[in-house]
């Protein structure tokens, strides 16, 4: 377990800012004590410093997970957000998409959100903007990338894709083995 290098930090923050914008600051400077990012097994964990101290007792090969896993660095050096980061993306998300109850299940199985299943969408969403997907009951279900702007969405045919799927909470079951 080690702190992130500058380059890694830059890559990861760029990715994160697609979803929560400048709210990233709120993740690092928290009123309830220091929080930090640490790299372990190519994965980035977000934890309080109290837990960090405790985790230093654990040998590297015996440590499985600390705090919350945000995602991992791929072999090509890109950063990929995991669904486990949703707990921290959802409260700070700038652009949101709500899906209709019928589409919930489809999205949770890993499908894109179609126009027909689109319940609501934040105004002024740009194309390829990172969005967090909610159910109509405001339960965060996952996140993705807006395929079209809000304006374009209005006059699309019902079967066109509105949000590209990136991660959904169904992965807790589908990809349990690869979460960490």
């Amino acid at each position: 377990m080690r702190p992130l290098t500058d380059e890694e930090t830059k890559t990861m923050f760029e990715k994160l800012s697609k979803y929560i914008g400048e709210n990233i600051k709120l993740l690092v400077d928290r009123p309830d004590g220091g929080y930090c990012f640490r790299l372990h097994n190519d994965r980035v964990y977000y934890m309080s410093e109290k837990i960090l101290k405790l985790a230093t007792n654990v040998a590297r090969d015996k440590l499985v997970s600390v705090g919350t896993c945000f995602g991992k660095f791929t072999k090509t050096g890109k950063f990929r957000l995991h669904i486990t980061a949703l707990d921290f993306l959802a409260p700070y998300a700038k652009f949101k998409v709500w899906v209709k109850p019928g589409t919930e299940q489809s999205f949770l199985y890993g499908n894109h959100v179609l126009k027909s299943g689109l319940g609501r969408i934040t105004e002024n969403t740009a194309q390829y903007q990172g969005v967090v997907v909610y159910s109509m009951a405001d339960v965060p279900l996952g996140f993705g990338v807006a395929a079209k702007t809000t304006q374009e969405c209005r006059r699309m045919d019902p079967m066109a894709i509105v949000v590209f799927h990136q991660a959904d909470v169904g992965e807790f079951i589908r990809n349990e083995d690869t979460l960490t």
């Binding site: 309080s48 837990i51 015996k62 440590l63 499985v64 949770l108 009951a137 959904d168 079951i173 349990e176």
Partner: protein
């Protein structure tokens, strides 16, 4: 019992009923239409018009013939037929009720298999028949009997009506059949679909009837005699060659239990209890398919009548329960959301504010969006108990020693509201994946997940406020979940897991910080009901470490044993709690809450206890901070371990320890298994000792070292927290070492 079916009656009924049924359908149609006419107010005006138009033609054509026979009655027949019709109409609801009752009966029977068997005893002549099949047969027969009664009744009236009516028979039929049809419907619901089976059953029944009667007679004879005869040795030998059928065995079990509960009055002269017991055991083994060993153990734990309940409870599954994740939602909201998805649920009980019990569900309960969003966790009711007993406080540092799959860990986190820290450990790396998934899904952010063998844990870190040890066990409390336990366990398995549990419990105790302001508690729980894995283990820990039992805070459950067969445990083991499937409708479970107390130990136990704390401390100290100077560390550690031996002994070699234990063990070792176990442990300790001796070769020094540590110990107790303090302590020790 009851009346047998008359085959001639059946033949009469078969084809006739079919034809009648079809004609009955016509009358039904006409009736339906008239009924529709009588209640057009429910329809809209247009619909009414349409309905009238649609209905007009068929109604007129059909109503006329229907009314004709009504008018065609002679006075006599009116007397006969109208009441008859009424009667049947009244009959049908009655018979509907009957069918309901039958359902209830079925339920009862399913719950109370004994009853079924008692009823069904005339059935089973075949040696191996599945229980369910028997039950069904039984129910069918009952149905038939009821029906027969109705049929006879109806048939009598019908025939009388026909006799009186004579030629006008045909015209009468619609009315006649209106009633008939209802009866048919009733029959169709009750047995109709089973017609073929019925006839088969009856054919089989015919051949069996004779035998069944005979057996009935036999059984009633037995009941009359009210005496249960114990089979002799030859009979039992014969049984082993030609096994008895389950019915007979079940009956014999019942009789046997009856005798055993009233032994003084019902026993057979010259037979002693042991004979009855051994017969009962072998019968229970055959009937419930357990192995001899496990059944013997269970018979030691439960009185006979309770044993049967327990075995029966193991045949049915416990209800599915879920726990609300209060980090993300509230129970009321969750219940509402799930009800909207078509789940039928109820609060778990007064004792839990987060549990919900699932009766049935139209959706898979482990894949709803609520589940995926982490609003609840599928978790047995029994596994809520240890966490409630642990009652972790906010801001504490808690260790869950064997955490997979994370149900209890996440419950701890939610009780702590995501404050403090949780260390979730498990020895199995594969199972830790589910812990990772569940912890992230439920939004727990204060957990460290690691993969150590629990026995090594005190070396990794210590100083926890609370520790939960859900020890690996033989699983005798969850036979309903995993029936393989019935036959797969033997003495060695139980003792092996008991041994592991003792090691784990000691290392768990060593991880607790006794001086914690809020905590210093430890929960030991297993899903086993064996005394060897529960009371015995806790009793061992009480002797070995300075811990005491405290009330678990659970207001139900049965008390732990303080004496079991020849073993006597510490009286405070009364404070532990046992949970059984038959009395609490949750998995069999054992929960003990221990408090590690500080130096205020009674004088008699003082010396040994203090030494032991020193031992554990020195272990933690030696290996905690750094592993580089391991040689020195280990040699230092060893004397510490050797310090367990009493003061009087002059040479504190590691090899002395086994003797000590043996001397201790001799006090309470009369049993075979325990002896074996002790021997095993001795062997292990001896090995350890040898290893230590050979490794260090400095045993002379150890005594001094030991004393050195002992003097310091009271002050150092408080220094277990924090890495810096560890380091300081280490330096001090090293200096002391060098100085000597």
């Amino acid at each position: 019992m009851g009346r047998k079916l008359d085959p001639t009656n059946q033949v009469k009924r078969g084809p006739g009923r079919k034809s009648r049924k079809q004609k009955g359908a016509e009358t039904e149609l006409s009736k339906f239409i008239t009924a529709e006419e009588s209640e057009p107010k429910r329809l809209t005006s247009r619909a009414r018009k349409r309905a009238v138009k649609r209905a007009q033609d068929p109604k007129k054509t059909k109503d006329v013939p229907q009314q004709k026979p009504l008018k065609g009655f002679t006075d006599e027949n009116k007397d006969w037929l109208k009441p008859a019709k009424r009667k049947r109409k009244i009959d049908t609801p009655e018979s509907d009720d009957d069918s309901d009752e039958m359902w209830e009966h079925e339920d009862d029977e399913e719950e109370d298999v004994e009853k079924v068997e008692a009823l069904g005893k005339k059935q089973g002549k075949k040696a191996v028949v599945a229980k369910m099949a028997e039950k069904e047969e039984e129910e069918e027969e009952d149905d038939e009997e009821d029906e027969d009664m109705v049929d006879d009744y109806g048939a009598a009236e019908e025939s009388s009506g026909e006799e009186a009516e004579g030629g006008s028979d045909e015209e009468l039929l619609p009315i006649e059949r209106a009633a008939k049809k209802e009866k048919n419907i009733m029959e169709a619901m009750g047995v109709g679909s089973d017609d073929d089976e019925d006839s088969e059953d009856e054919e089989a029944g015919k051949s069996d009837d004779g035998d069944a009667d005979e057996e009935d007679a036999l059984l009633t004879n037995i009941e009359e005699m009210d005496k249960f005869r114990l089979p002799g040795a030859e009979e039992r030998a014969k049984e082993s060659v030609i096994p008895l059928d389950l019915q007979t065995i079940h009956h014999r079990i019942k009789e046997n239990v009856d005798v055993l509960t009233n032994f003084a009055t019902k026993r057979e002269e010259g037979k002693d209890r042991a004979e009855y017991i051994s017969l009962l055991r072998s019968d229970l083994c055959t009937y419930y398919s357990y192995n001899d060993f496990l059944m013997e153990k269970l018979m030691d734990i439960f009185p006979v009548s309770e044993l049967i309940d327990f075995l029966e409870a193991n045949e049915i599954h416990r209800p599915v329960t879920i726990r609300t994740n209060t980090l993300k939602t509230r129970r009321r909201d969750l219940a509402q959301a799930l009800i909207n998805r078509g789940v039928n649920l109820d609060p778990l009980g007064k004792w839990s504010k987060v549990g919900l019990i699932i009766f049935d569900s139209s959706v898979p309960i482990g894949a709803t969006p609520e589940y995926l969003a982490g609003h609840y966790m599928l978790q047995g009711a029994s596994s809520l108990l240890p966490v409630m007993a642990l009652s972790p406080q906010e801001g504490e540092c808690v260790l869950d020693m064997s955490s997979a799959p994370g149900g209890k860990t996440t419950y701890i986190a939610q009780l702590m509201r995501n404050t403090g820290t949780i260390v979730a450990n498990d020895a199995n790396a594969e199972r830790l994946k589910s812990v990772v998934g569940n912890i992230h899904r439920l939004g727990v952010t204060n957990a460290v997940i690691c993969n150590y063998d629990g026995r090594q844990f005190p070396k990794v870190m210590g100083g926890f406020d609370r520790v939960l040890l859900d020890a690996p066990c033989s699983g005798t409390g969850v036979i309903a979940k995993d029936p393989a336990v019935k036959t797969s366990k033997d003495e060695a398995d139980i003792l092996r897991s008991a041994h592991l549990q003792k090691e784990l419990l000691l290392s768990a105790i060593d991880s607790v910080n006794a001086d914690s302001a809020t905590g210093g508690y430890l929960i030991y729980c297993t899903c086993s009901i064996m005394v060897e894995e529960n009371e015995w283990v806790v009793d061992y820990a009480l002797k070995k470490r300075n811990v005491k039992l405290v009330p678990t805070g659970l207001d139900f459950g049965t008390e732990g044993f303080t004496r079991f067969k020849e073993r006597r445990f510490h009286p405070s083991l009364r404070l532990t709690r046992r949970f059984y499937p038959h009395s609490h409708n949750m998995d069999g479970f054992f929960v003990a809450k221990l408090k590690k107390f500080s130096n205020s130990v009674p004088a008699t136990e003082m010396e040994q206890d203090e030494e032991e704390t020193v031992t554990s401390e020195s272990v933690a100290v030696a290996s905690g901070p750094d592993k580089k100077p391991s040689k020195n560390e280990t040699s230092k550690k060893i004397p510490g371990k050797a310090g367990v031996s009493p003061k009087g002994q002059t040479n504190g070699t590691g090899a002395k320890k086994p003797e000590n234990i043996q001397a201790k063990g001799q006090k309470d070792k009369p049993t075979g298994p325990k002896k074996a176990k002790m021997a095993k442990m001795d062997g292990k300790n001896a090995k350890e000792g040898e290893a230590n001796a050979s490794e260090s070769g400095k045993t002379e020094l150890s005594k001094n070292e030991k004393k050195h540590e002992k003097k310091k110990s009271p002050m150092k107790k408080k220094k277990r927290l924090g890495k810096n303090k560890f380091n300081k302590l280490k330096k001090v020790l090293q200096k002391g070492w060098i100085g000597e």
